[in-house]
Amino acid sequence: MNKRLFWITCFILCLTMTAVAQDREMKYAQLTGIEYTDPGLTNKGIYLNEDFVPGSVVLNSGDVVSGLYLRYNNLTDQLIWLTKEYGQVKLDKLTVTAFYLTLKETSAYFRQMRLPLGDSLPAYYQDLYKGKVTLLVQRKVSHASDYYQNKTHYSVCKPNPQYYLVVGNKTYHPSRPTIKTIYALFPEKKEQIQHLVRTLHLKDRSEAEFTEFIREVEESLVME
């Protein structure tokens, strides 16, 4: 009985999706890219999200195209779109200035920018926090190991996120997302920040805690 219920529900949902599909024709027309072959079969850990997730893209025209299934390739800094007709498509980076991914029921926002640090190239950075200061992360990966299985070579990558803190018109690159690193970057404000850390019991054991820490101390960072 459950099986029959399941198939009927699926059928009805498919009918619904077909009904709304005709309206999407116009809005997808601005998306351009090339057919993409997934190297993820032999390259592990290169995607931020292994499964395609719902998301939307912001184009350089300012238009937002939503209702897409997207995956972000950390290794090549490219956004992949899962299409009905042509499988996976690597979207043109020049066209996509920002995108949203629904990760663990929250919306992660990535935007393409060039940070004023050395000879950095335009890349996608995720906004972790945007208030009086901005905390960004570039979801890089680095090669971790190789192995062979049934004579097939597999390469494994591990996350190597790079954090950036934008305070006013200056950009800082903490080597690690820890409170101590912030002390080192802002030695003149160490006492103030320490006081806040003790008072508010701020921690830096995870990215979420570090983001919370930045949110709480941003006033101190911004103050002259």
Partner: protein, 571 residues
């Protein structure tokens, strides 16, 4: 279990209902237009303001206006509106004959209600050299339509002086009552023009009648959607026997220095709809059917071709009216000889939303960097890697190597010539290195929205292109030299600029040598009233006469109002 099954089915059916029937239907729209005057001499400019009235905050942002007589359309304007409002001017051709003309204005969404819902206003245009004015007497039918009765509004016009000399500053204030803002839009139009005593009989706007039943397509969507960010270009495609072709893919593009393309699919009835972004405005467009059936017929919709007739209402040619017209002809002749222009344009930029096919090519080849080669096949074979041109069924088609597999694609690549897709390289076979500026290749399956191309070959010519110098509000009349066989040419007009009436000011009272015989002293279509008095100032011209000051606008229900006052200019 049965209950669960029933609940699932009910939920599913509700979802379908939501998909097919939108939660809220768009309310109807209405357009109102104000012009500076009702009688013009050919060669003058008509200043207008247009507003879309709707109970919905999301009004159309694109409007259309045309000027026609009983036989022909003379001016076609594409209007880009902000928050449902636009203003500007257009010039009446010097060569127009004396007669009754009609200004018609509408939005694409209003087309659902039929042409009876359009805004229409009759004006008189007099040729500068016609002193007989016979056309104004002979034309016209007695079966004209009734016209609006304008209401008053709780608003006062106060003048510092109501009798002034020439080139003297006029100071007036417009003071609305507190109750004004409960019933009327706060933005009004103020005009000061020569008063024609016998204009009481000159008709103003015609009453519009809206169909309650909006036209629908076969899928129950409205025939004509609201245009917010760009224009929709509709049309239909049939085969040689006039049978509609369904699910045909059509392309829209324009010659340019990069490959550009919009696509659309025809529905069951052969109807297609392109979204035309700002980039395409003012450019010659080409529409092609992807599958290039030689006997297919593409017919684009012409919004400016109206089915309804214009039936002018004749005006009694009184002595005062004749005198006014003859004087005006003389004044316009003088203004033309001094080339006096009182219009100031405010440029605006519509987001272009360029429909690229690709942003970066895999390879770019410049034939001028190599020895001169005689034709396209030689060029492809010698200096363009990974490309072969083969003859198939009388057509010359390019085949590209897929960069992933290093094999040729089984289907031919899409060809762009000067940015426009074509089906066959045959017409361009004889192009030598001298005629080709560059060749760009995309060596992958390139996807654009819901279509894909097994490679892209874009050839850009060196041929001098005749850029049609498109003026505001006009459509391009010439096409580039490179031809695109099989493509339908469609000249697209451009958006009219926001024009302001910019009359001269005489703060120093020193007479300028140029005579100032303006009959329109002031025109401001965008005056925003507030709770207090709003000052307005301008200068009189050298033309002594009685002038009428008009403050006009609309109630929240769309009813026009007009409040007037008078001033006299003496010599």
């Amino acid at each position: 279990m049965k209950k669960q099954l029933i609940h699932s089915i009910v939920a599913g059916v509700s979802l379908i209902a939501l998909a097919f029937f939108p939660a809220k239907a768009d309310p109807p729209e209405k357009v109102q237009v104000q012009t500076d005057r009702e009688i013009y001499i050919a060669g003058e400019s008509i200043y207008y303001s247009i507003r879309v009235l709707t109970s919905d905050s999301a009004a159309s942002n694109i409007g259309y206006m045309l000027l026609r007589n009983t036989g022909q359309v003379f001016n076609q304007l594409y209007l880009h509106m902000e928050k449902g409002k636009a203003y500007g001017s257009f010039t009446i051709s010097d060569t127009l004959k004396t007669g009754y003309y009609e200004i018609v204005a509408f939005t694409n969404f209003m087309r659902n209600g039929g042409e009876d819902a359009y805004y229409r206003k009759q004006i008189i245009v007099v040729n500068r050299f016609d002193d007989q004015l016979d056309n104004l007497v002979k034309q016209g039918s007695d079966k004209g339509e009734s016209f609006f009765v304008e209401h008053k509004a709780p608003l006062m016009i106060r003048l510092d002086k109501d009798s002034l000399s020439t080139r003297e500053e006029v100071r007036l204030t417009v003071k609305p009552a507190t109750s004004f803002f409960n019933r009327y839009y706060p933005v009004v139009t103020v005009s000061v023009k020569q008063n024609i005593l016998s204009t009481a009989g000159i008709p103003r706007e015609a009453v519009s009648h809206e169909n309650e039943q909006y036209a629908e397509r076969s899928d129950k969507s409205l025939m004509y959607p609201k245009e917010k960010t760009g224009i929709y270009l509709d049309g239909y495609i049939t085969n040689g026997d006039s049978v509609p072709l369904s699910n045909e893919c059509l392309y829209l593009s324009t010659p340019d220095t990069f490959a550009n393309l919009q696509y659309a699919f025809s529905d069951r009835e052969g109807r297609f709809r392109f979204y035309v972004p700002g980039y395409y405005m003012g450019k010659p467009l080409f529409i092609t059917a992807k599958n290039h059936k030689d006997d297919c017929r593409i017919v684009p919709d012409d919004k400016f071709r109206l089915r309804s007739e214009f039936r002018p209402i004749p005006v009694e040619m009184t002595h005062e009216l004749r005198k006014y017209i003859l004087e005006s002809q003389e004044l316009v002749r003088i203004r033309k000889s001094y080339q006096i222009n009182s219009t100031r344009s405010i440029p605006f930029r519509v987001p272009p939303r360029i429909p690229y096919v690709y942003r970066e090519a895999s390879a770019v080849i410049y034939p001028s960097h190599f020895t001169r080669l005689n034709d396209l096949k030689e060029i492809a074979g010698n200096i363009v890697p990974d490309l072969r041109i083969r003859e198939m069924n009388g057509r010359y088609l390019p085949f590209m190597v897929d960069y992933k597999t290093r094999q040729y694609f089984s289907e031919p690549a899409v060809i762009f010539i000067d940015g426009v897709p074509v089906h066959d390289l045959n017409p361009y076979r004889k192009w030598s290195s001298d005629e080709i500026s560059r060749i760009e290749l995309c060596k992958a399956m390139r996807v654009k929205g819901e279509i894909a191309f097994p490679g892209v070959v874009a050839i850009f010519s060196n041929r001098e292109k005749k850029e049609p110098g498109v003026k505001q509000g006009e459509t391009p009349s010439s096409v580039p030299e490179v031809e695109f066989p099989g493509a339908l040419s469609y000249p697209m007009g451009t958006f009219s600029e926001y024009d302001l009436y910019d009359p001269p000011r005489y703060p120093s009272k020193i007479s300028a040598p140029v005579p100032d015989f303006r009959q329109l002293l002031y025109w401001n279509p965008n005056l925003e009233l507030n709770e207090g008095s709003l000052p307005v100032s301008f200068y009189t011209s050298d033309w002594p006469s009685d002038y009428i000051i008009e403050v006009s606008g609309y109630s929240l229900e769309g009813e026009p109002f007009r409040v007037t006052s008078k001033l006299t200019v003496y010599e």
